[in-house]
């Protein structure tokens, strides 16, 4: 495998450990996303890979070539690694034109690469901006220039640090697709850091989830979404309903009914997470599948609408249901389309089993 590998990385700033025994493989030619909340250590991991931080413990390698090892004894400086890094703030050089920025990394520029830079600029609809200075560019244009600059020296591995966070929502979607297209076209091995799960799902061939300095789970997007290994990963993709209970007869009793607890012995305490989009609602007496409501199922639970919020493409509903001790429990449901029943309406709630995750309470 010619990809990038980080093995057993532990890193601290002073007394504060920010990365703890993190191992991560970035397969050659693929896009890997490092997904996690702000401050979880993912940017530090990226900087370690680039050589901007000295490895304190662990190993960085591309294929068989070890770039950094142990407590800083071996440290190939960043300029000799052949690893490109695109920064969150783009970090364009303010005193250089767009073209000079892109060709900054080309020592002894081969005519072929200069030609590539011109064509790439044209491909990004920026042919006319070659001689412009960065501060005259829009955010999206700066992002494109930063990406082309990182790609120009043909790095063996490209690292992207929150590449779209500066952009507003609509532009972000467009630039995201362009970027993905360009990366697929060049076939460069890529590691991208993001805190946005949807972005990771959209871009990645592989996702590694990181929290509090540790890599919690790595796999293809389907695995991360449908087979989360713990509560953190399960809750990563949006709002969840959390219940606690004891396993009885292979099931945990929750306000939305008894839910299967595979692999957990009877008598164990368990946490149950149900994604908001895993609750299906139907209003008694109506049947309007287009609004995301379905006919009541056998094991449906009754609940009362507390409030509704139209989000645009979907609706968010707060429901009150009877908890195990009789007290009312608030449920969050997320249904596609416009579904806005009156407050107080009785609905029946059923559960999409694929969106239910049961973990033992350790």
């Amino acid at each position: 495998m010619k990809g990038l590998s980080l093995t057993g990385i532990t890193h601290a700033y002073g007394d504060r450990t920010v990365v703890l025994d993190a191992s991560l493989g970035v397969p050659a030619g693929k896009m890997t996303c490092l997904l996690g909340p702000s401050g979880c250590g993912k940017t530090t991991l990226l900087r370690i890979a680039a050589g901007l931080e000295i490895v304190q413990h662990g190993r960085v390698a591309i294929g068989e070539r070890v770039l950094a090892d142990g407590d800083g004894r071996r440290h190939v400086p960043p300029e000799e690694r052949g690893i490109g890094l695109m920064f969150q703030d783009h970090a364009l050089f303010p005193h250089l034109t767009v073209f000079e920025n892109i060709t900054f990394g080309l020592s002894d520029p081969a005519p072929g690469r200069l030609q590539w830079a011109r064509e790439a600029l044209a491909g990004a609809d920026m042919a006319g901006f070659a001689d412009a200075y960065p501060h005259t560019l829009s955010g999206g244009q700066q992002q494109r220039v930063a990406l082309l600059r990182a790609l120009a020296p043909e790095p063996r591995v490209l690292l992207l640090d929150e590449p779209f966070s500066d952009l507003d929502v609509n532009l972000r979607l467009q630039v995201r697709e362009e970027t993905l297209g360009l990366l697929k076209e060049t076939g460069v091995t890529t590691l991208m850091v993001t805190h946005n799960p949807e972005e990771a799902m959209f871009m990645a061939d592989h996702i590694a989830v990181m929290n509090e300095g540790r890599i919690i789970q790595a796999g293809i997007p389907m695995e991360i979404y449908f087979r989360p290994m713990d509560r953190f990963v399960a809750a990563l993709f949006g709002q969840v309903n959390r219940f606690a209970g004891v396993v009885e007869g292979g099931r945990v009793h929750t306000p939305v009914g008894g839910l299967a607890a595979p692999g957990l012995a009877d008598g164990r305490r368990a946490h149950v997470l149900v994604r908001a989009e895993g609750l299906r609602l139907s209003v008694a007496g109506t049947n309007d599948p287009s609004a995301g409501a379905r006919t009541p199922e056998r094991n449906a639970t009754p609940a009362r609408v507390i409030s509704t919020h139209l989000l645009g493409r979907s609706s968010h509903i707060h429901l009150g249901a009877a908890g195990p001790d009789g007290a009312e429990v608030v449920l969050h449901a997320h249904v596609p389309g416009v579904f806005l029943p009156e407050t107080g309406t009785l609905v029946s709630v059923s559960v999409d089993e694929r969106q239910v995750f049961v973990f033992a309470d350790d």
């Binding site: 002073g14 450990t17 407590d71 960043p78 920064f87 005193h95 250089l96 990394g105 600059r149």
Partner: protein, 569 residues
């Protein structure tokens, strides 16, 4: 895992490796600190002591005079500097736009030149008293009272005129920064403009005022030309007296170490002010200032209040020198003006180049390996600006003499060659003194402009294949070009004006424009040296132009394009 905090204690640095940058930065910083260490070291070394003698004779006088001078100049510059800054930022009256930059003009004239000019004007034989006698029929000194300019009061007046722009500059910026919201809030809460000024604006500007004041006091302690000419017995004057007239270097060093205590207090004030300032940056959003329109009498008073310091601190001295230069330029040329000019230009430009180079090296080194050791070393090395020239001169003379003697002794014993004194008494010693004294100026300017290069720009250059030195050359230096030039100009001009160190360190019979003017003026030959004095003033205009350009850019509502480098956050 048990790893936390044990094996990974000190990994704060980026690119941490033992290499040339860390070592070089610390070494350069240490070298620049040698003069300061030398003075402290000599003062602490027991030996031939003139303490007893000094303490019983002149020491109390030195202390009292120095304190009075500091108090007088401090108060005067605060009132004039903060007052005019308040007027031009908060009020609208005729000439305000011009006064905004014109109030900086007195910076161009060194205090000692102001002193010579006013002595020339106001002494018994001068035109002012002459005109009074002629018009009022007085004939002798006994017929009337006239303030004696060559006195402590005169020194306070002269230095106030020369140094108030420091307070003006800093308090003006402070008023601009804070005026955004708090001031208006205060008004909506029922305080009038005057009450708001005293309860909100002045307290908020206090850190800036303290910094300005501490710079003024450093200059006051540094001054030699004025106090020497006016025969005011301050510490600096005392150091010269003990050294040059009593011929006691260690006595001078002991005086210098007491003076360093004064300096320590002032530096402490300044550092505290700068720390306080961080918390006082309430907002970076500028909004149009209230701009109270003044009318009639109050407008005339405001204009007058701003006009007076400019006329007294700049127009009169420059005018007098200009008139003398027209009538007496031949005398100045005859006195070898061209050689002195060449000496000044040569020394100042060499010092500027070296100072800026060292400043860049230290600032970049501190940025690359910003550990506590490097930071402390660079901070200490840039203390030179606070140390009076006379003290620093002692600190330069002693180590160079030691080095010369050591080299001579070693070569003599090994090869039987006597080298004599290589450095001592040469112009190189002057340059060393200039570099040490003005290093802070270049280091500070360059460090500030380095912040325009973000950490990720460093990282981008590195990952694109440029090593640390190539990154400095291809990214930092081009981005900082303007600031490097500014730093060079500031150092150059301060070297042109520098008097106390040059007087002590210059080789025998070697003159710069400053020492030439000082010597001639001391011999009552101001007119004959006026062209030289005017040349110093002309070079002093350069930083004023630079500063007023900055003022133009920073004006709220001013739609000048922002510095291109500031566009990427």
């Amino acid at each position: 895992m048990g790893l936390v905090g044990t094996r990974f204690g000190g990994g704060a640095g980026t690119f941490r490796r033992i290499d040339g940058w860390t070592l070089g930065t610390v070494l350069v910083a240490l070298a620049a600190s040698i003069p300061i260490f030398a003075v402290i070291g000599l003062a602490l070394t027991p030996g031939e002591s003139v303490w007893g003698h000094l303490a019983s004779t002149v020491l109390p006088l030195y202390i009292r005079t120095t304190l009075l001078l500091m108090a007088g100049v401090g108060l005067g510059t605060l009132v004039i500097g903060a007052g005019t800054a308040w007027l031009v930022t908060m009020c609208r009256f005729p000439g305000r736009r011009i006064f905004e930059w014109a109030l900086l003009l007195p910076m161009a004239i060194p205090a000692y030149v102001v002193a010579y000019v006013y002595t020339d004007l106001l002494e018994y034989a001068g035109p002012v008293q002459g005109a009074l006698r002629a018009s009022l029929g007085w004939t002798t000194k006994g017929d009337y009272w006239f303030p004696e300019i060559r006195s402590l009061g005169g020194a306070i007046a002269v230095m106030t005129l020369a140094f108030y722009p420091y307070v003006y500059l800093l308090s003006r910026v402070a008023f601009l920064e804070q005026s955004v919201c708090v001031f208006e809030v205060s008004r909506t809460l029922g305080h009038g403009p005057w009450r708001s000024a005293f309860r909100i604006a002045l307290p908020l500007a206090r850190p800036a005022l303290v910094i300005g004041l501490s710079l003024v006091l450093m200059e006051t302690l540094n001054d030699f030309g004025t106090v020497d000419y006016f025969a005011v017995a301050t510490f600096t004057a005392g150091i010269f007296d003990v050294w040059l007239n009593m011929n006691s270097v260690s006595g001078a060093a002991q005086l210098a170490s007491v003076l360093l205590l004064f300096v320590l207090v002032v530096v402490y004030l300044e550092r505290r002010g700068r720390r306080g300032r961080r918390y006082h940056h309430t907002s970076t959003r500028y909004r149009a200032l209230p701009g109270y329109p003044l009318r009639g009498g109050s407008a005339a008073l405001a204009s007058l209040a701003c006009l007076a310091p400019v006329v007294l601190g700049f127009a009169v001295p420059a005018g007098v020198l200009g008139r003398y230069a027209l009538t007496h330029y031949a005398d100045t040329l005859e006195a070898d003006f061209l050689t002195y000019t060449a000496n000044s230009l040569g020394l100042s430009s060499m010092a500027a180049v070296i100072t800026v180079a060292v400043g860049i090296f230290m600032a970049y080194g501190a940025r690359l390996r910003g550990g506590p050791v490097v930071t402390a070393a660079t901070r200490f090395a840039s203390l030179g600006y606070a140390v009076p020239g006379a003290v620093l001169a002692i600190g330069v003379v002693l180590p160079t003499a030691w080095l010369d003697n050591t080299v001579d002794a070693v070569l003599d014993s090994v090869f039987g060659i006597s080298t004599g004194l290589l450095l001592s008494g040469s112009v190189f010693v002057i340059i060393i003194g200039y570099v040490v004294r003005f290093l802070a100026l270049s280091f500070g300017t360059i460090e500030a402009s380095l912040s325009k290069v973000t950490a990720s720009m460093d990282g981008a250059a590195r990952t694109l294949g440029a090593g640390p030195a190539a990154t400095l050359r291809r990214v930092h230096l081009p981005v900082m070009r303007g600031s490097v030039l500014t730093a060079a100009i500031l150092v150059f001009v301060d070297c042109m004006k520098e008097l106390p160190m040059t007087v002590i360190l210059r080789p025998f019979d070697f003159h710069t424009l400053a020492t030439f003017v000082h010597q001639y003026a001391s011999d009552e030959l101001l007119a004959e040296s006026s062209l030289a004095a005017l040349t110093i003033v002309a070079s002093g205009i350069l930083p004023v132009v630079l500063l007023s350009r900055t003022i133009g850019r920073s004006r709220p509502g001013h739609t000048g394009a922002p510095d291109g480098a500031g566009a990427t956050p």
